[in-house]
Structure formats: structure tokens, C-alpha cells
Amino acid sequence: EERRYRSASGAPIALWRRQHSASCRELTVRCSRLQLRSLSAVTSAVWLTAYGLYVISENSMVLSAAIFIMLIGLIIYLHFVKVDQESLLVIGSLGIQVTSSYASGRESTTFIEMGQVKDVVINEAIHMQKVIYYLCILLQDPGDPQGIYEVVPLFQSSKPRLDCLIEVYKSCQEILEQRKTAPQSS
């Protein structure tokens, strides 16, 4: 149920697939944790610069300011920026739930009901001087099934590559196809 892939920038990510029932699937993309070597590199760079400034300016506030900035910066980064895993829970007749959990344990969840979901597609777009593939949910207005109302991009932080996206796309399409056939049978 676990497969290893690469993200758009080359970092290794893992895709977990779980099937809870015939019409319910959960797909989770897990990014790599905060590396100790990058953390120590940034910490030593900031502290050595602060020490250099202290030697030049003879002001000890520089040292305490550097320690403070490092701590606050690290906490803000872990709480708001660093995403541990992003998961997609597709429940056949109910809706789609998108969860991102951050490194500090915070989780932010969005639920979209099935009436609003038109389709889940892989779209390509220009992003920061590159063309990337990304999975997105197309939302429709329940009263107007032809128009695309909004686009919700998924897996924004982990940015998986096309091979991982195709797996997720196939899993989602298997569940979304059921809702076309289900109203006729019941």
C-alpha cells in the first residue's frame, strides 16, 4: 500500500493507499521530515553571522536577537509552512475531504460535497518558470452542471510528479464513476 515517488523538485515522497470500503478510499502523500543537516546548517549560518556582527559592533543585543529570531522562525516554520503529509479521502456518495497536517501537529481540513464536485483532473500549468502537473478538483455550481465554478488544487506542498498523480487519478476516477451508475441502479 506504500509506494515511493519523487516530488517536482526531486525530494522523495511516499504515497499510501487505503481502501476502507468499496466506495471509500484514502490517499496520503507523505513528504520527508525536516532534515537535521539543513536545520543545523541554517542555525550555524545565522549564529555565526550574528557572532561576526557582535565582534564588529561590540553590542551583545545582536547575540540575543539572533537566538530569539532563530527560535521564533523555527516555530513559525514548523507550524505554518512545513507540511508533513497531505491526504485525500474520497467517499463515494458523500464528498471529498482534503487534509494537510503540518510538522507541529496542526491539521487543516476542507470538505467538498459530492454535488459540487464535477471531476478530479490532472492539469498542467505554469508555476514559477516551470510547467508542472498538478491534481485538482473542478467544482461546479449544483444548478449549472456545465460551467466550472472553481478549481481547487491538491497536494500543493508536496507537488508529486506525473507517475504518482496518475495513480491517484485512477483511484479517484474509479470511485467517481460509481456515482454516474448509482442513481440509475437505485
Binding site: 492539469n123 478549481v151 485512477k170
Partner: protein, 125 residues
């Protein structure tokens, strides 16, 4: 409206060439010859010589900023990932469906992204 060489264009080109040489010579004369010599000739109404150095400096900085500005404008006008402009636009929404005719090439139309995805990523057979 072809870019071929014409006699009128040759004349325009030559006039521009002479004009730009004249302008450059005038700029050099104004920048280098001391003011007293110009006053003795009777030409007194010139801009301050400060501008002979300031204007090229301004021009170079503008060219440098222009590169960065163009880059920034391009990045700003790229549609963000969550906008519908990456999927469709006004022309595609209002297109009319032509009837399918046997033995004829199908009409050109914008294929919806769901269909394209299904064709690419869900190989049935």
C-alpha cells in the same frame, strides 16, 4: 505591408542616420566645449552641463530596471494554479457543437479537460 526594401524606406533610413549623427555631434559639442567658448559664439541658451552626465546614467538604470520589471510583470500575469483560466476561457465556453458527419474530418473544437484526461491516463483496452 511586406518588409521588402523600398526607395521610400531607403530615404527614411538615410535621414534617420544623418539625424542621429547630427544629434550625437551636438551632444558631444555641448558636453565637452567649455561654456565661455559657447557664450563667445553667441549661443547662451543651453541646459546645464550636469545633464550631460545625468541623462546617460538615468538611461542605464532604466534599462536595468526594465529587465527586472518585465520579468516581474510576466510572473504577475501568469494565472495562479487555482484559477479557471488554466482550464477554459470565454471562447471555449461559448463554442457551438457541429453535428458529426460520416466520412468527414471532425470540426475543430476545444476538448474538455475531463475527456482529455480520460484519454491520456485511463487506458481501457
Amino acid at each position: 505591408n511586406s518588409p521588402a526594401p523600398l526607395p521610400e524606406r531607403a530615404i527614411y533610413g538615410f535621414a534617420l542616420f544623418l539625424g542621429s549623427w547630427f544629434g550625437f555631434m551636438l551632444y558631444l559639442i555641448w558636453a565637452y566645449i567649455p561654456e565661455t567658448w559657447l557664450f563667445s559664439l553667441g549661443l547662451t541658451y543651453w541646459p546645464q552641463k550636469y545633464w550631460a552626465v545625468a541623462l546617460p546614467a538615468y538611461l542605464l538604470v532604466t534599462i536595468g530596471i526594465g529587465y527586472i520589471l518585465l520579468f516581474g510583470i510576466n510572473m504577475m500575469s501568469t494565472a495562479p494554479l487555482n484559477s479557471t483560466h488554466t482550464i477554459t476561457d470565454n471562447y471555449a465556453k461559448k463554442q457551438q457543437q457541429k453535428k458529426f458527419q460520416e466520412e468527414a474530418i471532425p470540426a475543430l473544437r476545444d476538448i474538455p479537460i475531463s475527456e482529455v484526461n480520460r484519454m491520456f491516463f485511463l487506458p481501457e483496452k
